[in-house]
Symmetry: C2
């Protein structure tokens, strides 16, 4: 029942937000989902239009719906719009032109630890321990965000931050991330200036049946 | 033009495949995409129905549409349907009941290396080198597959294989994976027997603006 109310509320918000959606109407949800996945692309130039707050919230709602090993949910998000700080935050390590031109930059962060009882002793007190699968969760989080970006007619570009120390250090310091939290990736988002096309990556030689 | 033909062909195939889609019709593509992301769930019990070949192809087509650092595309897929081999492949390391009950198990594999000229010397001969971001790509590949599974009314469960040596060893040996290829995760897929519900993971405290 709680889920039903949540989903109804979500759908209501989506209807409110979806005015920004430029794709042709799809007659079937599976068709719409597949077309969106196949249309996702890296977008590196943007118009000066800003992102409605309700749309940004849905982008982050999609990101947080990612699967998570042991349901640890290591993710956090720092949404940047103050371009005057970008030199301090990103230095020379990133494509600054792309960032400063975008309507917002989302720094997707991950806590690399988890505070829980030891796996081999669930009755023991909680202790801080490494989370061996946080990085797998974060790839799914980032992809969910990128797919929602595509769905709302926005464009984005996944730029890696982890595991590059020279990229992570200034971001972590400037944003004041906690000791166990790393900046996983940096995603500039805006309305596409146009030009980028999705790649056709289909390759049947990558598929094996019952044996490599 | 090539992309247009590709997308038209894809849409035609999707229309052909989408008869298996049980979700209520969505009036807007963004709504359909968001609802699908929010409805994705881990499904651990399945009916005896098999997966149409055209649907399985679209699941893998969605997986291969994932973003990839430096466009390396480290992914490969081993689709398993011969349950008589599951004991040999998975041993006691996984939820075998879930695997044997599913219509198919997709072992998502990753090459951890790339054969290219060195990054600092593009004119030099290609050499085999580590790919520092293969794991990030694979999280996105797996999520794309899971979202397509949800879109077609199927259910799946992401079960981690990498980085657990005891899980990877029998899978790698039984399937004959190349030396540089690891079994990243194992995904049983089938039509849901019912019962599983999506989690509401929305948590506004995970969002920060311009500073942690």
């Amino acid at each position: 029942m709680k889920k039903t109310i949540f989903l109804l509320a979500t759908v209501a918000m989506l209807v409110a937000c979806s005015q920004t959606e430029p794709q042709p109407a799809a007659s079937d949800p599976a068709e719409a989902v597949m077309a969106n996945i196949l249309n996702r692309k890296s977008v590196r130039s943007y118009t000066s239009d800003t992102i409605p707050a309700a749309v940004m919230e849905n982008l982050l709602r999609a990101a947080m719906a990612a699967p998570s090993g042991r349901d640890i949910r290591p993710w956090s998000f720092v949404v940047l719009t103050d371009t005057t700080r970008y030199d301090e935050i990103f230095g020379d390590n990133f494509n600054m032109r792309m960032y400063k031109q975008s309507a917002a930059v989302v720094v997707i962060c991950a806590d690399t630890t988890v505070v829980r009882p030891p796996r081999d002793n669930p009755d023991a007190p909680a202790v801080q321990q490494p989370n061996g699968t946080w990085r797998d969760d974060m790839g799914a989080v980032t992809e969910n965000l990128l797919l929602a970006v595509e769905a709302y007619g926005l464009g984005a570009c996944w730029t890696a931050c982890y595991p590059y120390v020279d990229r992570m250090a200034p971001v972590k310091k400037a944003l004041g991330l906690p000791a166990t939290v790393v900046p996983y990736c940096v995603v500039p988002i805006g309305y596409p200036a146009g030009g980028e096309q999705p790649k056709d990556k289909w390759d049947s030689s990558r598929i094996h049946y019952n044996q490599w």
